[in-house]
């Protein structure tokens, strides 16, 4: 058996050598906003897999395509401006190229910002893998008045250059042909490599001599020498470990004497770029005022910019409530209701516990997941749209002053804004922030952003309690959460971190029309991930809560869950909460929207409309207000807690975060309860 297996494997490898079935490994690199994901989606279509880089929280996309009988494996590298170890993305990108040795590296560059986007190419070439330059956005460059001759650029670089307009599917076929040509070795690849600025060449040679023979495989020796001079953290650590003590001391002394070399290395790269493009590019004579500049007069204006941002946020909310909410109702009535009726009929003769499990437990849980989707899809689409058109960076820019008040900078606005969709992407999105301090604070505050799930709970409970004033109450709750967020930011910044804020420097990309394909795929992938991960969790919890609420005796009043709720009731009494509200809060820890499902089970209604009426008659107004407040500020769902732990890599920090939220939600809730009580509500 094992012998036959071995032969089969060998046969495969022989075919691989023939080249007929060879899988060519292609890496896709590029700076942010160069249309990398558009190209990736065009090449792989739905034939792609989204995951994380091993041990990292950076998204990893991989796909495959075939061309001329050969199969190509395409790996999307994180978008980075350079390959120096400033953040996880840069390390991932360069480690992949050095260790996995792709057959071809496609470097996407923006033709309208050619000089700056070739900087990454200058960093890619010394890594050894053959590079193809995808010269994207040729149409934009033309509009801006640049005249670029790709053949001249190709001759200067000594590497294949493919002019493209990826958003219009122009040049993609030529790119695929070029990948095939280079992978087969049919292209004479002879790149001209950048050099360090003349005044530092001698130092570089000295370092290379000192480390010669001690550089671990598979790192190129000259590259390591250059990164040492640049002061690259990872490479410095690696060489300190690999070199003998005295030798390291020598290297260290040279580096200390030249700690300004980083700028010399970068200048050398731009000097090389200047030589590459001098003949190939004709620049516009006078600086014209493009669409981006004209739009930015409004979008980045300190006053109008804020107005535009507020308008966009308002529109997102409006869309959610006018399109999302009716869709939710439709799904609830026809899909969930229909399913419940169907199963009820099918199980008419089955034992009561099985009917309960399926109709109340399982279908109840599935219903929550299904009805949650429309809102999530709308939020993912709005976010994707803002990101794809280039507006997101403007939002960060205009919010910089405000975020400054919390000891954060504009970049933290983006992840926190993501929190309106779901706190999980908010916490994960904090990865765009370089400074660990600002990142920790952003993660800490993210659970205070009212996520869709919390808003769903509010949107369901507010009309029941407050009728026509429901919209006002919902907005009030959102405002309250944001005020608490801002005050918490100030407090934590003044007490825990008594330091400076991180550097704020970011690119404002050109505006462009949205690519619906890119946005569609993004919405599809994120929604799918939600259904797979969160959906499963919600379903399991629904069943468990249902089981806990009927065990051991079959009655809710005598169940295990009731016992826990009653035990915690004294704490809730401060706000007039009875055990059922306490139990509802307990289950919200697993997933926010479970609160309603739990209330439905505990109040024995199941039908949501009935539940609303029942709640309005049993709960007083101050208690209802306090309950909404606690819902808004309470400990986040378990999925958020899990990513907080993952991102901070500290249980201590995670528990501190949870304890803080618990205290704040209880304090503010109690305050609102007593205010409302004395206010005569």
């Amino acid at each position: 058996m094992s012998t036959r297996h071995a032969i089969a494997v060998e046969q495969t490898s022989v075919t691989e050598l023939d080249g007929a079935e060879k899988r060519v490994l292609v890496a896709l690199a590029g700076q942010p906003n160069v249309g990398k994901s558009t190209v990736f989606n065009l090449l792989t279509g739905l034939n792609q897999h989204v995951g994380n880089w091993p041990g990292k929280t950076v998204e990893r996309k991989e796909g495959a395509f075939t061309h001329d009988g050969a199969t190509y494996r395409l790996v999307d590298l994180p978008g980075t401006y350079s390959l120096t170890a400033n953040s996880a993305e840069e390390v991932i990108a360069r480690e992949f190229i050095i260790r996995e040795k792709p057959d071809v590296v496609v470097a996407m560059v923006d033709a309208a910002i050619l000089e700056r986007s070739l900087y990454l190419v200058a960093e890619l070439l010394p890594l050894g893998a053959p590079v193809i330059v995808g010269l994207n956005m040729m149409d934009v460059a033309e509009q801006e008045g640049f005249r670029i001759e790709p053949e001249v650029l190709e001759a200067a670089l000594g590497a294949k250059v493919v002019p493209m307009v990826a958003s219009k599917n122009i040049g993609v076929r030529e790119l695929v042909a070029a990948i095939g040509e280079v992978a087969r070795g049919d292209y004479e690849y002879a790149p001209k490599l950048p050099e360090i600025r003349a005044d530092h060449r001698e130092v570089l040679a000295r370092i290379e001599k000192l480390i010669a023979g001690c550089v671990p495989e598979p790192y190129p020796q000259d590259w390591v020498a250059l990164k040492l001079l640049e002061g690259d953290r990872k490479v410095t650590e690696m060489m300190q470990e690999c070199l003998p003590e005295e030798r390291w001391q020598d290297v260290h002394d040279v580096l200390r004497a030249h700690d300004d070399a980083l700028v010399a290395v970068a200048s050398g790269r731009y000097g090389w770029i200047g030589r590459m493009i001098r003949a190939a590019v004709t620049r516009p004579k006078a600086g014209r005022i493009g669409l981006t500049e004209r739009l930015d007069r409004w979008a980045t204006h300190p006053l109008w910019g804020l107005g535009i941002l507020a308008g966009i946020l308002g529109l997102a909310f409006w869309l959610t409530y006018t399109i999302g909410a009716p869709l939710q109702d439709l799904l609830d009535v026809y899909v969930v209701g229909g399913l419940a009726d169907l199963m009820g009929d099918l199980l008419a003769s089955a034992p009561a516990w099985l009917q309960g499990l399926v109709v109340d437990g399982i279908i109840g849980g599935v219903g929550t997941v299904v009805t949650f989707l429309p809102i999530l899809v709308i939020f993912f689409a709005v976010l994707g749209l803002l990101e794809d058109t280039g507006y997101m960076a403007r939002a960060a820019y205009v919010m910089d002053g405000f975020m400054h008040l919390m000891g954060l900078h504009g970049k933290s606005f983006l992840p926190l804004f993501l929190g309106f969709g779901c706190n999980v992407p908010a916490v994960l999105g904090a990865r765009v922030i370089e400074s660990r301090r600002a990142r920790l604070l952003t993660i800490f505050l993210a659970p205070l952003v009212p996520c869709v799930a919390r808003m769903t709970v509010i949107a369901f409970l507010a009309p029941a309690f407050f009728g026509s004033a429901a919209t006002l109450v919902s907005w009030g709750m959102t405002l309250l959460a944001l005020v608490v967020l801002a005050l918490s930011g100030v407090l934590i910044n003044k007490t825990v971190f008594r330091g400076e804020r991180a550097g704020f420097i970011m690119e404002l990309p050109l505006y462009h029309l949205p690519n619906w394909r890119t946005i569609g795929l993004l919405v599809w992938q994120r929604s799918l991930a939600f259904v797979k991960k969160a959906g499963t969790l919600i379903l399991v919890v629904s069943v468990v809560v249902w089981a806990l609420s009927v065990l051991p005796g079959g009655e809710v009043e005598t169940s295990f869950l009731a016992a826990v709720g009653r035990w915690l009731e004294p704490v809730g009494r401060l706000m007039g909460f009875d055990w059922r509200l306490m139990v509802s809060l307990l289950t919200s820890f697993i997933a926010k929207e479970n609160s309603i499902a739990t209330l439905g089970v505990l109040f024995g209604t199941g039908e949501e409309a009935g539940l609303a009426e029942l709640l309005a008659t049993t709960i007083s107004v101050p208690t209802a207000l306090a309950f909404l407040v606690v819902q808004m500020l309470f400990v986040p769902c378990v999925a958020t807690v899990a990513v907080v732990k993952q991102e901070t890599a500290s249980w201590g920090w995670t528990f501190f975060n949870l304890a803080f939220l618990l205290v704040v939600s209880w304090a503010v809730g109690t305050g609102v309860y007593w205010l409302a009580t004395f206010g005569g509500l």
Binding site: Y81, S82, T84, N86, A112, I113, L114, E115, R116, Y119, E144, E230, G231, R233, D259, D260, L262, V263, A266, S267, Y270, G287, T292, E293, D296, T300, P302, A393, A396, Y397, D400, G401, H409, G410, E434, E500, G503, F504, I505, M506, E507, L508, P509
Partner: protein, 94 residues
């Protein structure tokens, strides 16, 4: 805004050599980068976004407070006021 970083600026930003912080340029004014200050992380990001000595910079927006926008190597870069204060430029174009 005290500077706690250790790395040396490319050109010591003394008033004597005539360079001024980028943050002092008004909208529409041009300059040529003379040198930068900051830790390795900030310097790395400045250079990869296009700021190196000799690079031409045009300030696109500067309201005198809060962040500002500069154009360098055809890209629009938003900088916090503090960060813009660490980039020194000679007024005018080359």
């Amino acid at each position: 805004m005290e500077n706690k970083s250790k790395a040396c600026p490319e050109v010591p930003p003394t008033p004597g050599n005539g360079s001024v912080p980028l943050s002092t340029l008004r909208a529409g004014e041009r300059g040529v980068v003379a040198g930068m200050q900051g830790g390795r992380g900030l310097l790395g990001r400045m250079t990869s976004l296009g700021f190196t000595p000799g690079a031409e910079v045009t300030v696109v927006q500067n309201y005198g407070r809060g962040p500002l926008i500069a154009r360098v190597r055809d890209a629009r870069i938003a900088l916090g006021r503090g960060e813009a204060g660490k980039i020194y430029v000679h007024r005018g174009s080359q």
